[in-house]
């Protein structure tokens, strides 16, 4: 297996975390979280990938055909659902905090210190 997908996953994680740390706007910060999550997609899909194989659907071909690992694809699907839930929740929280505080700058949103 190639090391390239792992390098890409590590890079995505790194830039995502850098974005979260330096962000000045919560919507931007949530975008950076999604970048971190993309690192997990790349890692998971590359683990399950087999060169020269087909998608794990055996409707029109014999079940002995080499296919990529369906377990990992199920994991990525679940991961996407989880990510969508968290992103939706975070965006809703951001909207509410903007209504109350009038800012979405993470540096200014410090509980108990207003």
């Amino acid at each position: 297996m190639s090391y390239l997908p792992w390098a890409i996953a590590a890079w995505l994680f790194g830039v995502g975390v850098y974005g979260v740390i330096t962000s000045r706007h919560y919507v931007h910060l949530i975008g950076c979280l999604t970048v971190i999550q993309s690192a997990t997609y790349v890692a998971l899909l590359s683990i399950g990938y087999r060169f020269g194989s087909v998608a794990p659907i055996f409707y029109s071909r014999p079940t002995s055909t080499p296919a990529v690992d369906p377990v990992l694809q199920a994991l990525v699907l679940t991961d996407i659902v989880v990510g969508a839930t968290v992103t939706a929740l975070l965006l809703a929280l951001t909207l509410q905090v903007h209504k109350k505080r009038g800012t979405v700058n993470p540096e200014r949103l410090r509980p108990f210190r207003q």
Binding site: A9, L29, I36, I47, V71, L89, K100, R110, P111, F112
Partner: protein
Amino acid sequence: MIAPAASVLVPLPVALPLLAGAALLLVGKFLPGRIPDAIAVLTAILVVAIDARLAAQSLQGPLVYWMGGWQPTGGVTLGIAFVVDEAEAILGAFMALLFAASFVFAWGYFEDIRAFFHVLMLIFLAAMQGFCFTHDLFNLFVWFEVMSVTAFALTAYRLEADPLEGALNFTVTNTIGSFLILGGVALAYSLTSVLDFGALARSLAQHAQDPVAVAAFCMLAIGLLIKGAAMPFHFWLADAHAVAPSPVSVIFSGAMVPLALFGLGKIYWDVFAPVPAVQLLMRTLVLALGMTTAVIGGLACLRQRHLKRLLAFSTVSHGGILLIGLSLPGAVSLGGVLAYFVGHGLVKGSLFMIAGILLARAGGIDELWLRGRGRPLWPAGIAMAVAAVLLGGAPIGLMDSGSRLIGTAAAARGEDWVLIAMVLGAACTGGAVLRGAGRIFLGLGAVAGEEARGPSDEESEKADRPLWLMMLPVTVLLIVALGAGVAHVDEAVLGAAQRFLSWDGPSSIAPVSVPPAVAAPGTTHSFVPWATIALALLIAAHDLGRAWLPGSWRRVSDRVLSGPVFGAIDRAHDGVIGDYVVWMLIGLALFSVSSAAALHAG
């Protein structure tokens, strides 16, 4: 040899609250008054009963349940199993009991917003039961995530500025944690191509020297330590626990944080124990983190005036003590962890309820503002003093059994110095809560110390419940915490721990044998509980009696406590999410360097 038994009851603690939650979401709008409260309480009590039955059944052997009947065939393990041992069933029953108490405490409190509170809490309960029982690494991640999302929503339940900010900090840090867990799952699967704990452990035994196995453990451990609020990943906790509604904080501090730490113990014993470098990491790095967390959490706890924030830091400190117990190998220490888990949850749950009583009845949460205003609520004052004494390490009750067993396990390894961190953590938190009780209910401590600089907030909760209704769950929890109705705690937890260690990991793929019984070890250092509680009383007396202290002493102690060393604790907890993530990166670096060293040493 014992072939694992199947029980139809195993999935019910997860399925029942999920079904009840879905039903409430569907028809909650049409249900009058207190029906959703009653349904929620009954569901939680039913889960307690099922878990208690499972605990009794699992004495004969581990209970294994394959979802959808996908049993391993021909050496291939594709299905997802729930495995229940006595230890897990006891923890499950305890957590459901805490939910039942919390529902009774919140009786009628959330009625004006339909049944959303009950729906979220029931899903939260189901997720915690699933997290406790699951035997599959990815399934563990799924329950972790369900637990997280419901917790995020519950934190921001009041939709006011501070809760929203606390919830945002909580969500961002814990979401990075769950991505790390997923990365760890990916690494473990890339090495072994299985996800079942038993199959993973068998496969990892063949890859014991592989750095990928160590990297997978580190990522899983960091994710769980973020949720378990260990240094330097604990920063979100004080922000979130202080702003959540008090019935929710009961669950956060009493069950969610310790459960994440127990999850770390579970993946270590069930999956990664065959890897020598991981054993070394647990014995060194995790022990060091636990000791630091216990001390720093205790010191930060003393510097708070916002009562829920004070209790939150005490949870950080006691989480550190649990982590110390998890890092020590063997059944004695694990038995201590089980007793401490339950004992701490009961005490901390009742303390957050007392904070809720003050919010509802006295109209505030600030310790200095509340001085003397608690007098009409004297039953809560007595309960708070009892809880503080238990928290401060008094030699009675479940928490004492736990810390005694952990201390004995450390002393048996010749690591007596571990006790220093445990004593300091327990004494500081017990002292801080005692100080609060004395100030609020007796009107002592007119001259405030360093705590006056702590962040605070004006806050109150709806005052529509009679005092006796709110005191009922507090009293029940404290009576259980004092050890009433639980005979021979030490023998019980030691047996459960011994069976967990020899059964839980392999039972999904192989028959197991009856472990030899462990005798309860003799107590070493029997003066330790007395020294701890004496130190806690001294701290409380010092802080409340400032007015009578000589002026020179006060000036010196003030200068030391606000100086660069102790002041740094306040400055680090600054509420800025970017800083918290930098601390997480420092922790990540710590794990990387330590695992490189551990691999080199192994």
